[in-house]
Amino acid sequence: MKDDLERSLLDAGRVEPGADVRARVLAATVPLVRRDDSRLDRVWFSPRWRVAAVLMLVLLPGIDVVSTRLFVSMPVAEVRASAAGTVQAVEVAAREAGLPPDERAALVAQAIAAARAATMRAPGADMSVGGSNQ
């Protein structure tokens, strides 16, 4: 609860800049506004990119640990399904994070390579993700 003094402070403190200040400030600053075309900066400072990067940092080692532990005892069919699911999850996460198609493709390629390596480690497996076991 505000007492009398705090209410008086609030009322007394409601001073505003002079009427001409808005025009002066905008006249001085608006000509300086430029579209920032630095693609790298825009990606780096974008909150979506940062969230995606953190997610990847957490997700990829997690996938590695889980795959190492689980895939060893999994039947080949399950390993293949799980790896394909992981690749799909990475692809969906990258798309939702708004990454450009080329970066998305690079990430998916990395995920496929990781999944392929995991699949190869499965007992008796001799196949690739999404491929035949010939």
Partner: protein, 179 residues
């Protein structure tokens, strides 16, 4: 207090600014200039200097570019720029900031009451506080920032901010003769 809608609008304005939309700067001015001006006035005690600080904030905003996309709390960010600008100006050997006593003149009643008479006025009493206390009064009691936010803006802990505010209120009560 600023709500979620205000925060979303600020974030949208910053994105538009990064995309080169000058109208976004006007929107940000309309939303934040008054609060920034009051913060500047609390720091400098002079309307002219406070207006200059506001202009410095918007100059910085207009030229920052994509880094603005990483701003999560726009009011905090703007008030921190204003404070940094104030510190910069004070460091310059040719600092043009007027003396805080100027605040009495700026806030004096329009009928030209004498300073001793104006001293019983709350605004006059605030002008007699140290700058650090004036700043917290402006940020917490007038602008509605929490002690944590006011502390972040001023570079002190929330406890120091709260203690400064308490000390300011105590001093103000003595000056205006209220309990």
């Amino acid at each position: 207090m600023r709500g979620r809608r205000d925060r979303r609008r600020d974030a949208a304005s910053l994105r538009r600014l990064v995309n080169g939309d000058p109208e976004a700067l006007a929107d940000l001015y309309d939303a934040h200039a008054a609060g920034l001006f009051r913060h500047g006035l609390a720091l400098t005690g002079s309307r002219t200097d406070a207006e200059d600080l506001v202009q410095t904030v918007f100059l910085k905003l207009a030229t920052t570019g994509a880094q603005l996309l990483a701003v999560r709390n726009t009011p905090n960010y703007l008030h921190r720029i204003l404070r940094a600008a104030w510190i910069d100006v004070r460091k310059r050997p040719s600092a043009s900031l007027e003396q805080p006593a100027d605040m009495d003149a700026d806030r004096a009643a329009p009928d030209g009451r004498h300073a001793t008479e104006a001293a019983i006025d709350v605004a006059g009493a605030v002008a007699r506080l140290p700058a650090a206390q004036r700043e917290i009064v402006a940020l917490h009691l007038v602008e509605g920032f929490s002690f944590r936010e006011a502390g972040r803006i001023t570079g002190v802990s929330m406890f120091t901010a709260a203690s400064r505010c308490r000390a300011a209120l105590q001093q103000l009560r003595q000056i205006v003769g209220r309990r």
